[in-house]
């Protein structure tokens, strides 16, 4: 067993590119993305897993980058808001956020969009939520009602409180597939 101390080297993939991070043992993934890689689209707001502003994807799943350590991400595939668009084309959910005005100040928006994009995939994979009426039944994307979206997006707080527009944007993007 190798103890890593001082400056730790971590090889991982960020937004499709192989990157090497040099971090301290206690550096969170959030701090590493912002401070080491300059990916400031991911925001620090509560730094305690209580708001969702730092949401990124790890191996395709939405997680909170403030509540995991950078040194634990060896070999992982991380996607941030900067990596969601492809070749300059916005992700359908990014486009839907603009059309439905799913934000005001915009600070929580990267987290909302990263959360929403992965959440649609969770629903597609048949995952239920606390809003699902019959847990025993397989969940289908068609079951993704507004009540389902509200519950599944509740891990992303928005103080400007654009919630209804966020729900509309996510529903729209889920429909567009």
């Amino acid at each position: 067993m190798v103890w890593k101390m001082g400056k730790i080297h971590v090889d991982l993939t960020v937004n499709g590119q192989a990157r090497e991070l040099v971090v301290e043992p206690g550096t969170t993934l959030l701090e590493a993305l912002r401070d080491s890689l300059g990916l400031t689209g991911t925001k620090k707001s509560c730094d305690r897993g209580e708001c969702g502003a730092c949401t990124v994807h790890r191996d395709g799943w939405r997680i909170l980058s403030c509540m995991t350590l950078a040194a634990m991400q060896e070999g992982r595939r991380i996607t941030t808001i900067e990596g969601l668009a492809s070749d300059g084309d916005l992700h359908p959910l990014q486009q839907a956020f603009i059309e439905h005005d799913g934000f005001q100040c915009g600070f929580c928006t990267p987290g909302q969009i990263m959360s929403g994009a992965a959440m649609i995939e969770e629903a597609r994979a048949g995952w239920p939520s606390a809003a699902t009426r019959d847990l025993a039944r397989p969940f289908a994307l068609a079951d993704l009602s507004n009540a389902e979206i509200r519950e599944r997006m509740s891990g992303n707080l928005c103080r400007c409180a654009c919630y209804p527009n966020i729900v509309d944007a996510v529903a729209d993007a889920a429909r567009r597939g």
Binding site: D35, G38, D47, E50, L90, I98, F103
Partner: protein, 737 residues
């Protein structure tokens, strides 16, 4: 069709959805050091000793400041003014006194934030502690009459006591609201960068760049022209970033002393002590009315806490002065009490959202006492004259808000008896409340420049805090210039731009917007002048009145001639053409008309009678905010305000530990703000209007208005659902069991 009034998507939308909008802490500054605040554990007393030796030896630490070695600051100016607004008059690290928990007692500056934070934990402090003063029922006896702050402290029109004495029906109740914190998603941050020539650039999370410039100049003793404040994107303000708080002064002073840029971003926990909050209130509201429900007298008395060093007043009874007339008279009073918390500040919606809870709850109680329908009761007491000043309202479409709102909400299907409506096992309740909101008039300057390539640039020292300033200013300029939106760019958030006012109090559209309109007119008129009188004057012989501009092309229809802006500039050898806009309105109180915006809020709740849980099922806001420049961004602002009110009504309270005087729930799992699942479908209705007294744009304030009277509408709905009148916010489970 005019671009103004259209539902345009945000100009900065792409930046925001792509993570490319840079907020203060996102801006990379070469060589910047990072600072962390060491907060006081106690709320009252003084530090006896502070041992910083271990912290100073910790890795990466560059300096540790305490009151002993912190450079002395100039006192904040007296009287307080919006032009140089300090959040608190007690300045950081100037002496050994402790006046509130979380007060900075040291500032650690290190190469990284992690190093600064860790070193802070190594500082050993001995305190001499005194019992802290906290706000509570006994505060009623300790409250005193404060000196005037924003408005006269007390008001009296006619004889309110007589109005209550002669009343056939009287309501007299005490209503209380909780301490609340803004909890913007973006924590406050400052990066201070000094140049060798002694000038300072402050990257600052602020709703008031010019205010920050002026106040920092005074406190640091630097000429204001040597300070540049930059805020291109602000991650939510809600009043909490309007004034200057200690962290800004700490960062700027440390950076100066160390000769290196310093960044200081508050932690979430810092945000419960380093900056202001909405003060709790204890309000006594008395209404007298005749049997028909016509008001005869109103008395509204409010008590709120301030710090031990400032006299902040929460003017909870402000709206009561002007919302409803009373035949015999209206009186309002405000008193304050000193507690060991930091100075309160403006928080959406300051003054009105607190007082309206009392006033509009009492109106509902009056409706039940008289048997008059709550909507009808308000229509009965509607007025065209401001009861406070005696001036006519410039526009007051409150009646339309109530009537149109009631129709859309389906108010006529409501059965008035409490506990008479059900959905399965759930109790259903519907409530209404009306609101009035102050209109602020402030000066603002702007510049609009036409470029040779046919584009235009709008420059204004305003702010983007979420209201859509980039978007609506572009609309206003494009509309006046007769240009497509794509050709108009907006820059803001920099004190090198023309000076504007704070983006607070719902003032930006009406005031900053007016200056943009005037600047765009100036630029357009210069171009028209070139067409009429310039080189090769293509419109020679025509008049300015004949010229219209569409898609950047000026046309003098009577002579059938056209020329684009680009062609006119080229023909005259000009690279650009500037229009200056200086909007300088008379203060509202000195104008001929009383200017306010109005709303009616309709709420529907479902209450589980077993558990006392209140869930929103519908919420509708009907607004008279004058002309709506962009219905899309305005609607978003409105739903944001309504949800802000849901938080006030059902969730938000900063709890003070009675023994230590500390706020206990200093995080987002303890301080509950609404989550997505709390919010139903919302409906927003704008009543058509154009208020030329309020602004040449016809717009009145909207953002603050929308958070007013949500709480009483919900409380009234809860009463209708359960038969329980809750006069203490928030309405939590235990109050309904």
């Amino acid at each position: 069709m005019s671009i103004v009034g259209q539902a345009i998507s945000r100009a900065d939308g792409r930046l925001k959805v792509a993570g490319e909008a840079s907020y203060t802490a996102d801006i990379a500054i070469d060589g910047a050091l990072h600072a962390a605040i060491v907060p006081s554990v106690i709320a009252n007393g003084r530090t006896v000793s502070i041992d910083v030796s271990a912290a100073e030896q910790a890795p990466g630490v560059v300096a540790v400041f305490t009151w002993r070695n912190m450079p002395r600051l100039n006192p904040t100016p007296n009287p307080w003014s919006h032009l140089h607004p300090h959040g608190q008059g007690y300045l950081p690290l100037q002496d050994d006194a402790i006046h509130y928990a979380g007060q900075p007692i040291a500032l650690v500056v290190a190469s990284t934030l992690a190093q600064a934070t860790y070193a802070g934990t190594l500082i050993e402090v001995d305190y001499a502690e005194r019992t802290p003063a906290v706000f509570g029922p006994s505060s009623v006896d300790e409250a005193f009459d404060p000196p005037q702050f924003l408005w006269p402290v007390n008001s009296s029109v006619g004889d309110a006591d007589k109005g209550l004495a002669v009343a056939a029906v009287r309501i007299e109740q005490t209503y209380t609201t909780a301490d609340r914190h803004h909890n913007q998603m973006e924590p406050h941050a400052t990066t201070a960068v000094w140049s060798p020539d002694g000038s300072l650039t402050l990257y600052e999370t602020t709703q008031h760049i010019f205010g920050a410039q002026a106040l920092v100049a005074i406190v640091l003793g630097v000429p204001p022209e040597k300070i540049n404040v930059v805020a291109k994107f602000v991650g939510g303000g809600f009043g909490g970033k309007a004034y200057v708080w200690p962290h800004t002064l700490l960062a700027a002073t440390a950076a100066k002393r160390l000769g290196r840029p310093v960044r200081l971003q508050l932690t979430r926990a810092n945000m419960y002590s380093m900056v202001g909050r909405q003060a709790a209130t204890i309000q006594t509201l008395s209404l007298g009315a005749d049997r028909a429900g016509r008001l005869t007298g109103i008395r509204h008395q409010s008590i709120s806490p301030t710090s031990v060093y400032d006299g902040y007043i929460e003017y909870a009874a402000l709206g009561t002065r002007s919302l409803w007339p009373a035949a015999e008279g209206i009186s309002t009073t405000h008193r304050i009490v000193r507690v060991n918390h930091n100075t309160p500040t403006a928080m959406r919606s300051p003054h009105e959202a607190l007082g309206h809870f009392a006033l509009e709850s009492a109106m509902d109680e009056l409706a039940y006492a008289t048997g008059v329908d709550p909507v009808a009761l308000r229509l009965l007491n509607d007025t065209a004259i401001d009861p406070h000043s005696g001036r006519p309202f410039s526009t007051r479409a409150l009646g339309d808000c109530l009537k149109e709102g009631a129709v859309r909400f389906g108010w006529d299907r409501r059965s008035p008896e409490p506990r008479s409506m059900r959905d399965g096992s759930l109790l259903v309740g519907q409530g209404v409340a009306a609101a009035i909101y102050t209109h602020w008039r402030w000066p603002s300057a702007a510049r609009v420049t036409l470029h040779a390539d046919g584009t235009a640039l709008v420059e204004i020292g305003s702010h983007e805090i979420g209201g859509g300033t980039y978007t609506v200013m572009r609309q206003v300029a494009a509309d006046v210039l007769g240009m497509s939106l794509e050709r108009v760019a907006v820059v803001l958030g920099d004190t090198r731009l023309p000076a504007s006012h704070a983006s607070i109090g719902s003032a930006t559209m009406a005031n900053a917007g007016a200056s943009v309109m005037l600047a765009a007119k100036g630029a357009r008129d210069k171009a028209i002048d070139l067409a009429l009188n310039g080189r090769d004057a293509p419109f020679a012989g025509s008049t300015a009145q004949d010229v219209v501009v569409t898609d950047g092309v000026l046309t003098a229809a009577p002579i059938n001639r056209s020329a684009s802006y680009a062609e006119l500039l080229a023909a005259n050898g000009l690279q650009s053409l500037e229009g200056e806009g200086a909007y300088d309105p008379v203060e509202e109180a000195n104008g001929p008309k009383a200017i306010f915006s109005f709303s009616a809020v309709f709420a529907e709740v479902r209450v589980d009678p077993d558990f006392g849980t209140v869930r929103m099922s519908r919420l509708l806001g009907a607004y008279d905010a004058g002309r709506i420049i962009n219905p899309k961004t305005a609607r978003s602002q409105a739903i944001g305000g309504m949800i802000w009110g849901v938080g006030q009504a059902l969730l938000e309270q900063s709890e003070t530990d009675p023994a230590t005087g500390r706020f206990v729930n200093r995080n987002l799992s303890g301080y509950l703000i609404p989550a997505n699942a709390d919010i139903p479908e919302l409906e927003v209705l704008f009543v058509d209007g154009f208020d030329e007294e309020a602004s040449p744009l016809g717009a009145k304030g909207l953002g603050e208005l929308t958070a007013v009277s949500v709480a009483p509408a919900i409380a009234n709905a809860v009463y209708h659902a359960t038969g329980k009148r809750i006069r203490d916010l928030p309405i939590t489970i235990e109050k309904l069991l």
